[in-house]
């Protein structure tokens, strides 16, 4: 039985290799029916066999590859909405997403951005063995989000980067990761739909900045709705004008008007 498993794993190694796009067809013929379900599962994932995992259109132009390049590290300043938005499109396209070290991850928010909760694997507290946890996750998941402990040692970084290059996964580090090609952060944001004692949070206009090495030496800045009133992420073309009237939409559903009324009466 163990031999069977090693064959399967071997076949998937071939399959996960970004350069070996043509290999799976041959691989099916070679290893026969024993792994047909796994290969079928892998083939079902559309748009993930290329070298770049998809991201939401609003974020695509901030990333040098137009998406999450397989085998690379992307850094986000903190594990917030931007971090979830970064992996949402890949998850929606069928990728598994592992999350390590973020016990306070808002799964409902990830689902609201389009990610599929059924394809999330969460390890809230990986402990001191977090590099091993991330390595194990990368064997199963196309994207792994990790909040590394303060300043991961260079040796561990290099080892994980090696795993990424061999396996073709993407690591999203929410925190510090020296030498990463891209760093994303939210520079400014303003919330819409909420006032001085009335309304509710409905949308946020945010300026996302991408910095890094190589193709992104000059910081790129984009304004976007993160999230828009309908829960998606859309680019905001109005630019830097600082305008905060947000796209037309129905009045906030479920806003507790009774409480507002009582409050106004109290004033």
């Amino acid at each position: 039985m163990r031999k069977g498993i090693s064959q399967v794993t071997g076949a998937l190694d071939v399959f996960d290799e970004p350069s070996a796009d043509a290999a799976p067809v041959g691989a099916i013929g070679l290893i026969g029916n024993a792994v047909s379900s796994e290969v079928a599962e892998a083939l079902r994932i559309d748009g993930l066999s290329t070298g770049v995992l998809p991201v939401l259109p609003a974020l695509a132009e901030l990333l040098p590859a137009g998406g999450l390049a397989r085998g690379s590290v992307v850094v986000v300043d903190r594990p917030g909405l931007l971090c979830l938005a970064l992996v949402a499109a890949a998850s929606a396209a069928g990728a598994w997403c592992g999350v390590a070290g973020i016990p306070d991850l808002g799964v409902a928010a990830a689902a609201g951005l389009g990610a599929e909760p059924a394809r999330l694997m969460l390890v809230a507290h990986p402990g001191p063995g977090w590099p091993q946890v991330v390595t194990s996750m990368l064997e199963a998941c196309e994207v792994v989000v990790v909040r590394p402990p303060a300043r991961p040692p260079a040796q561990i970084r290099r080892r994980l980067e090696g795993v990424l290059r061999r396996g073709g996964g993407v690591l999203v580090a929410a925190g510090e990761w020296e030498g990463a090609p891209v760093r994303l952060r939210v520079a400014r944001r303003s919330w819409a739909g909420i006032g001085d004692g009335y309304g509710s949070l409905r949308a946020c206009r945010a300026e996302v900045v991408a910095e890094g090495r190589g193709a992104v030496t000059r910081p790129r800045r984009r304004w976007m709705w993160l999230p828009a009133p309908d829960g998606t992420v859309i680019p905001d073309e109005t630019g830097d004008a600082g305008r905060i009237d947000f796209p037309a939409g129905p009045a906030a559903a479920g806003a507790p008007t009774a409480a507002e009324a009582s409050l106004r009466a109290a004033r």
Binding site: M1, G4, I5, L12, N33, A34, S37, E38, E41, P79, L81, C83, W96, P103, D104, L105, G106, V107, A108, A109, A111, G112, P117, A118, M121, L122, V123, A124, H125, P126, G129, Q132, V133, S136, M137, E139, A140, V186, R189, S190, W191, I194, G195, D196, G197, Y198, S200, L201, C204, A206, P227, G231, A252, G254, A255, P256, A259, S262, L263, A266
Partner: protein, 485 residues
Amino acid sequence: MRAERTGKPARILAVWCPGWPEEDADGAEARAFGHVVTVVEDFCPEVEVLRPGMCVLGARGPARYFGGEDALARKIAEAVAAHGFDCHTGVADGQFAACLAARAGRLGRPVSPGDPGAPGAPGVVVPPGGTRQFLASYPVHVLAAPGLAGQLARLGIRTLGDFAALPARDVAGRFGAEGTAFQRVARGQEPRRLAAGPPRADLSTALEFDPPVHAEPAAFAAKGLAEQMLAGLAACGLSCVRVRVRVTGADGRESARLWRHDGLLSALAVAQRVRWQLDGWPPARAGGDDGPADEAAGGITLLRLVPDQLVPEEGRQLGLWGDDLISGRVERAAVRLQAMLGHESVAHPLLAGGRGPAEQVVLVPFGDMRDPRFPADRPWPARIPPPAPATVYPVPLTARVIDATGSPVAVTGRAVVSAPPDALMAGDSPWLAITAWAGPWPVTERWWDEQNATRRARFQLVTEDGSAWLAAIELGRWQIEARYD
């Protein structure tokens, strides 16, 4: 119909603990009644629990052993009372009469016209053959059949004695099978047989190692142990959802993990999971100067396999290729991580229903059954409107919210804010000025449940740095439940 076959009605002893709640949400009361059942089981292993607070057993055998029905009833009542439960017992022909006899013991109801009846007596024993007479004075409404009792009352038949006196043929003709069954009850016969299951067998298997062994021989022995366990389960027609593997070391350390089984794993596959678990078994501590002491310290003395969540075996079709769990690369990785960190540490989230953000996600350990207690697709009035927050604190951050004068913001019982909030201190961060806010949104949940009742008012706050927070005030204390950005 044991009673009819032998010609004699079955003698039943009922044990009743007054004031036990009939139903509760999580079965805690039912489990607490298990203590009473355990005490009663010392007298007779076959005990049938009718509902929390009431159980019955066949009295004939134990009565012979304990010196008569009176003595048995008294001893059981005393034994249960010794564990701190108010308890009454009753013996009669048939379960229905026995339950009434147990209640009669408390109410001091006379057993027979000549007997005065003692209030608060621990037990009432209706003599064999006297059950019909004992029941005769009860109104027909004690039969748990409102429709039938109503009809009988309208016909002028008000007591069980009147009902029992009707010709059986006429009762069958007028009221059908249901009427016949209830008439048999009124006559002190049994409508159905006592259905006591045998006591639950211990289906776990264990193996002791003397002298202590290392991980490899233990994993090897696990295969035989797993075969034993699976054979024991199969003999009972059962299957298990998970297997708990418990390893005890020579130095007292213990490692227990739950592994998904689903009736799918062969003995070899269970042994493999034991091997994975033992991979995480800490090696002998490098304590002393040399070998022998440490050899024993790192050794394993006891390996136990316990089937968890027993379900009836339904004869699942195994995959055509190999008899291992049909698994993808994700499941293999999850199992490996679980071997490293523990079963509960690798979660597979599931959206659920709820008003607060923390209730809307359930973290199910990988491989466990995925059905939320509260499904997500139900309406949840007063739910926080979307978008969902990106950060949901498992333990809310303590916070302080002040108004422009610097005094804490409060909310009255009628959901009126004392003053507009002006600044927020979340956790250990510095004070931030509040630029926009909304609320209060009062929520009163599960007021019927002391443990889980909440009464709080929620606010959304936006601070000067652009962050948006979901705050709540409960009993005058502010906390941050979630953060939106």
